[in-house]
């Protein structure tokens, strides 16, 4: 026995029970309240199509609302609660809404939009309070979710007799086979009707499939069918609310299949009659499942209503279990059911029920036009069978109409999918029409939609089935119309005076059954979806407790506060150290490419818009790259390390894009060149030392005179070979030191020690931003925003006059040289701080003429400066504008100046 609780009361279940079976076993028929009218609802089905018995299972962050009691298997300690009721399930104040049903009919929600907004605000409060399903947990889910790929020749969906046989044949013919079953055991309809093939057959067949190398996944639902025969499977490794054995609660499989065989069976249809939603009204096959699979007999006096032969199996099962078959109401004329051995009424259609809390009291029906009544506690109905065509339709399939079964069946598909078994050949039924009053005849139990609601939608002009669905809310929520769609289509077709196929169909969209958000997020659910890229020197930085800054997928130190400093205080202190003395920072994330070969310079002069071939060995230069349309998309430096070997650096944020660009140029545009271009971004860690005493510090470290500005030498620091590039982003004499990443910690330690010895400081991205803005250096993603040409950025004098670089042709377009383009400018604040991202306007209310791309403080002098883009900015130096950010409520008056606030002649670079 297994212990569980429902609404705080302890019960016991048997091993293998679903929660629905366990509740019925304990005599509980009332399980939930309906969405809109708060009508008492019981258990209608035994599968994933259950519309009524929705409960919340589990506690804390593991709680799962809107779980179908028919689709959760009881485990020790399971905690379940009913939903959408107050103060309790038996006495629910919300049930008074049933009295207001005439006012709450189809489309009432939309009608509340009429009138003033104030009225809607009034209605909204009550609607939100009254309607709804379960509440989402407020705590984080403690469990993990996994994504796994799988490949197979044949994917079989559904482990009933047809699916198992198909899987067996495929596996034993040498194919890679995956067989999936949403239940926790195999067999499907054989569990309910084991007469032909019994449990031994199921066990033996499964063993043969596995022996042939097939993979069988139970508790796994094929939830989506995508292009190229990609099928997603959702697998429950633990039950809702249950602590998983291995930490993973669910797994989302991405299966790429050569062929998909759908053996997904069919879903039994309810019948439309008054009060057909009471606890005690159940689908016929579901009842048979409870009796034969779980040994639960939910009633003693049973009426069975049917339009087909299948329900007689239920009558027999109930009789075998000791229940009394009060009547079989067969919609078909005599002699249907004549030899069944039960009391059969032909031409019989249910009209209404009366009920107690957990079961029925009475069933009435029209029999040959006469109304008859029976005392009964249970009514099993079978209104026919709807093939499960969802995956077939998601695969882009079409449907045929099977008139005998009054059902749509799979036809063709543009993907390699086949449907077999009951889903392809549903049982024939007798076409019947409801004789009951439509107002309480529910067709969508989950959304409280009745036949009258469909009639009302029709009367109000909703002709398309898609409009009908949205106006009435039919076919929405967790069951997605599995029980209701055919009834609604039938009613709509009746109103239109057409056959059902002509009434149209709604769209079948994934997922087939509800999928939790955590499963979709997978392993990334806990860390925003992707790994953080760690610096080679991550541990050294982390030991200093920096403020971290996301930069692409990287995290880099933004500042190293000490003694309770704020970010701004720390950054200013660090920047001052660079201006006055020396600072050290990690620049490992810069993109780096090693370009080798006799044609390396020619290759680089295609990538870069500046000259490269004129560089002497040991020299470097600033460079930038254009898109084919002539706009700047990245910048960096290029260094001639050897006769035929260069190092190209570019921005961190554009590193992946640059790698793709270089690969494209190498493989598609220049396959003829004798060159090798290798991405060495991560091979080399980078350390920058900058400041007026940087040269002295480096001299101590390498034991010789460091290279002059824009020169490079190999050297050794702390016994480790390094490449030193004399380049500056800060505006001070500076050096970048590149080391094989695995040796970076040794070199960093030596450099840091020497910097600290002379009173220098570590500096992070924030200080670097202050320094580069003051110097007027560009940043990709800021000033280089994809809309600026070399002319706009005043880089045109550096262009390779010989042309031949990517973007040269695009750049020649006249429009790119016309007046009215935005150009790079500097901005000095006349009052206040310049808000970053603000628009530049000549006067209040005027149209924007540009924007501020980056703002900073003057490091030594104080005051606010910025870089920006301004229409015809080069010719507007001296103008006074307003930098305005209405969204932040900030503005400042600014003077337009040249974009170099610090050492414009570059004298501080030189020794």
């Amino acid at each position: 026995m297994i212990n569980f609780s429902f609404d705080g009361k302890a019960y016991t279940a048997q091993v293998g029970d679903t929660l629905a079976a366990a509740l019925l076993r304990n005599g509980i028929g009332l399980v939930g309240r309906s969405f809109k009218y708060h009508r008492p609802r019981g258990i209608m089905t035994a599968g994933v199509e259950e519309p009524n018995a929705l409960v919340t299972v589990g506690e804390g962050g593991r709680a799962e609302p809107n779980t179908r009691a028919t689709d959760v298997f009881v485990y020790e300690g399971l905690v379940a609660r009913s939903q959408n009721r107050w103060p309790n399930l038996s006495f629910d104040i919300g049930s008074v809404l049933g009295l207001a049903a005439p006012a709450l009919s189809a489309g009432f929600y939309y009608k509340t939009f009429f009138g003033s907004a104030k009225k809607w605000m009034f209605y909204e409060y009550f609607i939100r309070k009254a309607a709804g399903l379960g509440n989402a947990p407020t705590q984080a889910d403690p469990d993990r979710f996994s994504h796994r790929a799988a490949f197979c020749d044949v994917l079989v969906v559904g482990a009933g007799p047809a699916g198992m046989q198909a899987a067996l044949e495929a596996a034993e013919s040498g194919k890679r086979v995956i067989l999936v079953e949403q239940d926790n055991i195999l067999g499907a309809s054989l569990i309910r009707d084991p007469q032909e093939l019994d449990a031994a057959w199921i066990e033996a067949t499964a063993a043969r499939i596995r022996a042939a190398g097939g993979r069988i996944l139970t508790r796994t639902t094929a939830s989506g069918y995508w292009e190229h025969d990609l099928v997603t499977l959702t697998q429950r490794l633990s039950e809702p609310g249950q602590t998983p054995d291995n930490g993973v609660a669910q797994r989302l499989w991405h299966v790429r299949a050569g062929q998909v065989i759908l053996a997904s069976g069919s879903i039994e249809r309810p019948m439309a009659f008054a009060h057909n939603d009471r606890p005690g009204v159940m689908l016929s096959q579901a009842l048979r499942s409870y009796v034969r699979r779980f040994g639960v007999v939910p009633g003693k006096r049973v009426v069975i209503a049917t339009n087909n032969d299948d329900a007689y199996k239920t009558a027999q099962a109930m009789k075998d279990a000791g229940a009394q078959i009060v009547a079989v109401l067969d919609a078909r004329p005599a002699p249907a059911g004549a030899n069944s051995g039960h009391r059969v009424y032909n031409n019989a259609i249910p009209l209404s029920t009366k009920g107690a809390r957990h079961c029925l009291k009475n069933v009435s029906a029209s029999v040959d036009g006469q109304t008859l009544e029976w005392d009964a506690d249970l009514l099993a109905v079978s209104g026919g069978f709807t093939p499960v065509v969802h995956l077939h339709m998601q695969a882009g399939g079409t449907l045929d109409w099977n008139a005998d079964a009054q059902a749509f069946v799979p036809a063709s598909s543009r993907q390699n999918v086949t449907t077999i078994g009951g889903a392809a050949e549903p049982q024939p039924i007798f076409k019947m029409a409801s004789a009951a009053k439509p107002k309480k005849s529910f067709i969508d139990f989950q959304n409280d939609v009745t036949l009258a609601d469909v009639d009302l939608a029709w009367a109000e002009g909703y002709r398309s089935v898609e409009h009908l669905k949205r106006y009435t809310t039919l076919g929405m929520a967790t069951d997605q119309g599995k029980l209701s769609n055919m009834a609604a289509l039938g009613r709509l077709a009746e109103k239109q005076g057409v056959a059902i196929p002509e009434a149209g169909l709604t769209t079948f969209r994934p997922p087939y059954t509800p999928v939790t958000m955590g499963l979709l997020a997978g392993a990334g659910a806990k860390d925003a979806g992707a790994h953080v890229r760690r610096l080679a020197l991550y541990d050294l930085h982390a030991a200093k407790n920096p403020i971290w800054q996301p930069l692409g997928y990287w995290f880099r130190p933004r500042a190293y506060p000490t003694g309770g400093e704020t970010l701004a205080q720390a950054a200013l202190r660090e920047a001052k150290a660079v201006r006055n003395n020396v600072g050290i920072t990690d620049v490992s994330t810069l993109a780096k490419f090693e370009v080798s070969g006799p044609d390396a310079a020619a290759f680089l002069e295609i990538i870069c818009a500046t000259t490269v071939s004129k560089l002497a060995v040991g020299r470097g230069r600033y460079t930038f790259m254009l898109r084919e349309d002539g706009f700047v998309f990245d910048d960096g430096t290029v260094w001639r390390l050897d006769e035929n070997r260069y190092l190209l650096t570019s921005s961190t944020g554009g590193a992946d894009r640059m790698a793709t660009h270089i690969s494209y140029v190498r493989q598609y545009l220049c396959p003829h060149l004798r060159v090798s271009a290798v991405n060495v971004q991560e091979h080399y860690a980078g350390i920058a030392i900058a400041g007026p005493t940087a040269k002295a510090v480096l001299t101590t470290l390498i034991g010789e005179e460091p290279p002059r500005h824009m020169s490079t030498v190999p050297a050794v620091i702390a016994g480790v070979p390094v490449i030193i590039l004399a380049a500056s982003y800060s505006g001070e004499r500076a050096f970048e030191i590149y080391i094989t990443a695995s040796d970076a910690a040794t070199v960093w330690a030596a450099c840091e020690a020497e910097v600290m010895k002379v009173g220098g400081a570590l500096y992070g991205l924030e200080a670097m931003e202050f320094l580069r803005i003051e110097k007027g250096h560009l940043v990709v993603g800021g000033e280089v925003d994809g809309r600026m040409t070399p002319h706009d950025l005043a880089l045109d004098k550096m262009l390779n006059k010989a042309g031949g670089f990517i973007g040269a042709s695009g750049l020649a377009r006249p429009a790119l040289a016309e007046a009215g383009r935005r150009q790079l400018v500097g901005l000095e604040a006349l009052d206040g701080d310049i808000p970053e991202g603000s628009m530049l306007i000549p006067s209040e209310g005027a149209s924007p003429q540009g924007h501020v791309s980056a703002g900073a403080f003057r490091i030594i002098e104080g005051g606010s400066v910025a870089l920006g883009q301004l229409v015809d900015g080069f010719s507007r130096h001296g103008e006074i504008l307003i930098a305005s950010s209405p969204t932040r409520g900030q503005k400042a008056r600014v003077r337009v100046v040249a974009p170099h606030f610090y050492d414009p002649a570059g004298e501080r670079y030189r020794d």
């Binding site: 790929a149 992707a530 090798s676 991560e682």
Partner: protein, 163 residues
Amino acid sequence: MTEVTITTLPAAPLHVFEIWNNAVAVAKRFKAAMGFALPATGRSGGNDALRLIRFEPTVWLVEGDISSLGDVLAEDGALTAISGGIVRIRLSGKGWRTLLMEGGVFDAESPDFAAGCSAATIIDHVNVRLHVIDETTCDAYVPLSFSQGLLHFWRQAAGSLVE
């Protein structure tokens, strides 16, 4: 439980070996010098001292001693060091194929992906090169910056490979 052991291998010399000219001649020189042929696409070749894995049509990853490869290439190609940027992770045990399916998109469970095969793929957003050593061993070449994250992902996934 599906068994797999995850081990970070010690740093080793790794180079990119690229041919830009006279590929046939280089291949002949290579075979004459090394005693084995340059491996084909998706394959590896070599021995304990030197192993090559073909990355791209004209590019191989070289693991081990490259001292004689300069002469093999002569003026027809280049060797570029990349070892600082790559972490080698060894997946051992019967479960390595299953582990690689976690967060993956590549059919590591295919029987055709056998010893001597290599592949480039994405696993949990990370670009990874795979090299099958034998039926119970597969080496993964992972970018340094992602290696800690992927190791964490794999170690966590390895504890829950049960189906």
